[in-house]
Amino acid sequence: MNLYKLNRTLHRDLGYFFIGMTLIYAISGIAINHIKDWNPNYIIRKEAFQISANLSREQIDKQKVSEILSSVNVDSYKSFYFPKNNILKIFIDGGSVTCELNTGYCEIETIKRRPLFFHLNKMHYNPGKTWTYFSDFYCVALAFLAISGLFIIKGKNGLKWRGTILGIIGIIIPILILLLYL
């Protein structure tokens, strides 16, 4: 069999086969790359509200907790505890409420999974053994796609000129970044 033809066929078919994986890693890659700027997995909203000040820890019971929550239209809670003496934390479905008992300042935090990104990022973070095998196979295939791509086109648009120049530039850039910035 002609080696060029075999190379093109494998390059094409692996490209088709791994289109989903490439998109998963590309989209979640950008999302996780900017983890300092946003939360790629959850949409977190915070809203402040006020309750009466100078409540003591002893005054906080199930009924008082329900009263606090009813002021922000929350009708049930999972549990509550005191992380510090004057701080009350109430866990509600999809978030939590934190109150400073001396000032009466409260904050409700609601957490919702970010559509699409939550699941893409979960896969990016390597969720289990089966995924490890499949993503390893993808990585090997990606290396093959990179190398086989060099031999798709013959002549000056291939390795003889354009391919070599662009390939070298693409290798030099990460090396320069590594040496200068990292």
């Binding site: 999972k78 973070y125 196979f137």
Partner: protein, 169 residues
């Protein structure tokens, strides 16, 4: 074309059918926060089971969480994922869980305590006034130093757990 398709299907079949043989389960020792956080606790390896309330799950990666004793906020431990668990769901917060896993010990000695003290002081240099938070942190360091001095081992152990499984209780 048919050959290529056959190869991909065969690969997928192998991937999903290969399940590793289950290892025999070691005996699981149940521990309490009082035991685990006592300076005399000695971990002899193996799996332990700990019950507590989920106080926090890392919202960025979900790869770590804190469980603790709601009646005593000082009693808490960091739980990390392992190759058996990929992440902890955020909605675990506020629920009581039982976690089985292995422990990893960090030895907090006088060198660690001194370094911590220096870090806290360096951080507070930027603030003109000493805050209550600063005083609280310094009190904790003092307390840690006292515990290290009193410990026959010369250090205070701090444990984190690598979770193998967890369930709501």
């Amino acid at each position: 074309m048919k050959k290529t398709l056959f190869l991909f299907v065969a690969f997928a079949f192998v991937l999903f059918s290969c399940k590793q043989a289950e290892k025999p389960v070691d005996e699981i020792k149940k521990v309490s926060f009082d035991e685990l956080l006592s300076d005399n606790f000695e971990y002899k390896g193996g799996q332990v089971e700990l019950e507590g309330m989920v106080l926090h799950v890392c919202a960025h990666s979900g790869k770590k969480m804190f469980i603790g004793n709601p009646d005593n906020p000082e009693q808490k431990i960091q739980i990390l994922v392992s190759d058996k668990i990929s992440s902890f769901p955020k909605d675990l917060e506020g629920t009581k869980v039982s976690v089985v896993g292995t422990l990893e010990e960090e030895k907090l000695d006088m060198e660690y305590a001194n370094k911590l003290e220096e870090e806290i002081k360096a951080e507070s240099k930027d603030n003109t006034e000493h805050s209550c938070e600063f005083e609280e942190s310094m009190k904790k360091v003092e307390n840690l130093k006292q515990r290290i001095q009193n410990s026959p081992k010369g250090y205070v152990p701090k444990f984190t757990m690598k979770a193998i499984s967890f369930k709501k209780v």
